[in-house]
């Protein structure tokens, strides 16, 4: 298996923009869709379209089977203890908000504390700010050093008996550094503080074993790992999910409804109120199958080559990335004298899609004293040729501006 084989699975990659072949380097925002994902959505929308769990007819049975077998696939993919610990959501943001509400309503009271880190995506900051406002709780921030590493040593002192939850990104969407989540979980657990891991970027580039990490919650999106948009997962330890109050009320999440009082469905139904994204959630199966293909040795060697090329070229000229020891192939950088937006606009006209701006991490931008950065994030379908073309184009763009 090689990169070209992988490319062939993604129809969107063969298009041109402004008459130039598309070079898609904005994978951390969203990846391209697998053809198998699009086909499955098509098939489910056009054929097996029925609401799940309730009706007895043939289509409903098939649709339910598609949906529930996805839960098994995700459980297996994450090595979760049981399928009840897998809750489907619309994405990472929805997963985190679910915990912020349900965990918050159940366990967080006035004067309690929540910990987030300085490098979090807004999605892992704002839900906790809202919770703290609602409850009169306190948001504490774990800092990062000048290289962008979490100050894990400070964590122990940050946790008190009032700390109810620590919420940390597996991989920062700006820095790309893989955080030592296992160590963080250890430290937190030794102080009886559970941990939520924002896995939006983390799930894409490595095998995640939630039992090995021992985290209490793990949230991620399907759309960044080649599945359909509007699909997401919340993994939660059963001991927590069982005790948490429901997030949304509605159909599917109940056992019996009486005006004298309603009882809730067992897990995971309790957290899946209303009709779910039934034609899209099953595409997670295709994404998971695809992730399996990426373990091919020959392919990995080729991917490594692209990554090493970019790391080398970008660090030579632009002094990025910082701390390279354990990173995903994601590079955020600032070019002196050239604004990130200008660079992105010019690269766009050369057919290259990169991200510029604050990357939904304003506190992190403030930390490094910049108004924004350019971010390049590659996927297994990006070739060495594309990387070379990108570096050449970047040089040209910089020379136009500086």
């Amino acid at each position: 298996m090689n990169i070209q084989d992988i490319r062939n699975m993604f129809p969107a990659l063969s298009q041109t923009v402004y008459g130039k072949p598309l070079v898609y380097f904005d994978n951390a925002a969203t990846s391209q869709r697998l053809e198998s994902v699009v086909r499955r959505m098509d098939r489910l929308s056009l054929g097996t379209n029925a609401n799940i769990h309730r009706a007895v007819h043939k289509l409903a049975t098939e649709a339910t089977e598609e949906y529930e077998s996805t839960r098994d696939a995700v459980r297996d993919f994450l090595n979760a203890g049981s399928r009840e610990e897998i809750v489907f959501t619309s994405g990472t943001t929805a997963s985190i908000n679910l915990v912020a509400y349900s965990f918050g309503e159940t366990f967080v009271h006035e004067g309690d504390e929540i910990i987030v880190s300085e490098e979090e995506h807004h999605s892992n900051i704002v839900p906790w700010q809202l919770l703290c406002e609602r409850k009169g709780a306190i948001l504490k921030v774990l800092g990062i050093d000048d290289e962008g590493h979490l100050k894990v040593d400070d964590l122990k002192a940050l946790i008190t008996s009032r700390t109810k939850l620590a919420c940390i990104a597996h991989v920062s969407n700006v820095l790309g550094i893989v955080n030592p989540v296992k160590e963080i979980v250890n430290i937190c657990h030794s102080a009886s503080c559970p941990v939520l891991v924002d896995g939006a970027q983390g799930i894409v580039h490595q095998r995640v074993d939630v039992r090995d990490l021992d985290c209490d919650f793990y949230a991620f999106s399907g759309h960044k790992m080649y599945a359909a948009t509007g699909t997401g997962v919340l993994y939660g330890k059963k001991e927590w999910l069982d005790r948490m109050v429901p997030f949304m009320g509605g159909g599917e999440m109940i056992e019996t409804v009486k005006f004298s009082g309603t009882t809730y469905a067992p897990l995971p139904g309790k957290f899946e109120a209303g009709t779910q994204n039934i034609n899209a959630i099953p595409t997670l199966k295709d994404a998971i199958a695809f992730m399996g293909l990426l373990e091919d040795k020959e392919l990995q060697a080729e991917m490594k080559e692209v990554e090493q090329f970019l790391t080398r070229e970008l660090s030579l000229v632009y002094g990025v990335p910082r701390g390279t020891e354990k990173k995903i192939p994601l590079y955020s950088f600032v070019v002196k004298g050239a604004h990130h937006e200008d660079l992105a606009l010019i690269l766009d006209k050369m057919g290259i899609a990169v991200r510029s701006g604050q990357m939904c991490a304003e506190p992190l931008m403030d930390r490094f004293g910049v108004t924004g950065m350019v971010r390049v994030s590659i996927a297994p379908y990006n070739t060495l040729q594309e990387a070379e073309y990108f570096i050449k184009s970047l040089d040209k763009a910089v020379s136009m501006l500086v």
Binding site: H340, D342, I346, K349, S356, M400, L401
Partner: protein, 261 residues
């Protein structure tokens, strides 16, 4: 000065010389670099139009019924587009700007730079230009309605309104001096038209007053709340600059100043 249409056509002609996108950008970068300097001291929070991408500062002034713009950005391509916008729109009749559709931007192929999804400062800058122009039109309308010919009956009807509006203005105090803005002499003009809309031209003791917006809003609200008043426009001016001779006798007493000072 060229007419608005001529100014637009000139920009369209300039752009038609470039086929290649990179050449168009080169041209915009050049324009950006040559944009008239924007004063550092005007890079204040209230003039900043924030976006996720580039930041834009926009300042405007009104002179002889025309509205003039100055702007800046930290991104050079945006600055180039600002230069185009200024060359087309600055120094125009606000009415002309308020009625313009800014469609020429897409005619020169810059539409994607203006797509709202870009979340850059440019879209908001155009919105702000239109907003400022529209505000100006409204102020002018109210003012000119105030210059209408009044019959004796109209005047009799308006007289008590003037008294009440003055009382309302006297409810608003300078944030630093314990005297209301009327007795301080900050009100330069007060006109009420036949539609019972009030037009007020006022100043501040110093152009740097940090509470200026709050005070203007307070005057506007206080006057608009007067029974019988149907609307209120407040215009800020620093011409002529305020000085102590504008204080009323009441204010002088309040501040312990000599009445003949």
């Amino acid at each position: 000065m060229k007419t608005l249409e001529e100014a637009k056509q000139a920009v369209i002609d300039d752009f038609s010389m470039y086929d290649e996108w990179l050449d168009k950008y080169e041209y915009l970068i050049e324009l950006g670099k040559n944009l008239e300097e924007y004063p550092e001291e005007s890079k204040t929070e209230d003039k900043l139009i924030k976006g996720c991408q580039s930041r834009v500062w926009l300042d405007s002034k009104v002179e002889d019924g025309k509205i003039w713009f100055k702007a800046d950005s930290d991104a050079i391509i945006t600055k180039g587009i600002i230069s185009l916008l200024i060359s087309v729109y600055s120094g125009r009749d606000p009415k002309e700007i308020a009625e313009d559709d800014f469609g020429f931007i897409s005619q020169i192929g810059l539409k994607e730079n203006l797509s709202p999804t870009r979340a850059n400062g440019l879209v908001s800058m155009i919105a702000r230009i239109k907003e400022l122009a529209a505000e100006m039109v409204k102020v002018e309308d109210t003012k000119s309605n105030g210059q209408e010919v009044l019959t004796a009956e109209d005047a009799a009807e308006l007289a008590p309104l003037y008294d009440n509006v003055v009382l309302a203005i006297k409810q608003v105090y300078d944030p630093e001096i314990p005297v209301n803005v009327y007795d301080l002499g900050l009100i330069y003009e007060l006109v009420i038209n036949k539609k019972h809309e009030a037009y007020i031209k006022m100043t501040f003791t110093a152009p740097t007053c940090p509470m200026a917006d709050e005070v203007l809003a307070e005057v506007k609200k206080s006057v608009a709340d007067v029974p019988g008043i149907t609307g209120c426009e407040v215009e800020l001016t620093f011409e002529p600059p305020w000085d102590q001779s504008m204080l009323s006798d009441e204010a002088r007493v309040e501040l312990g100043l000599d009445l003949n000072d």
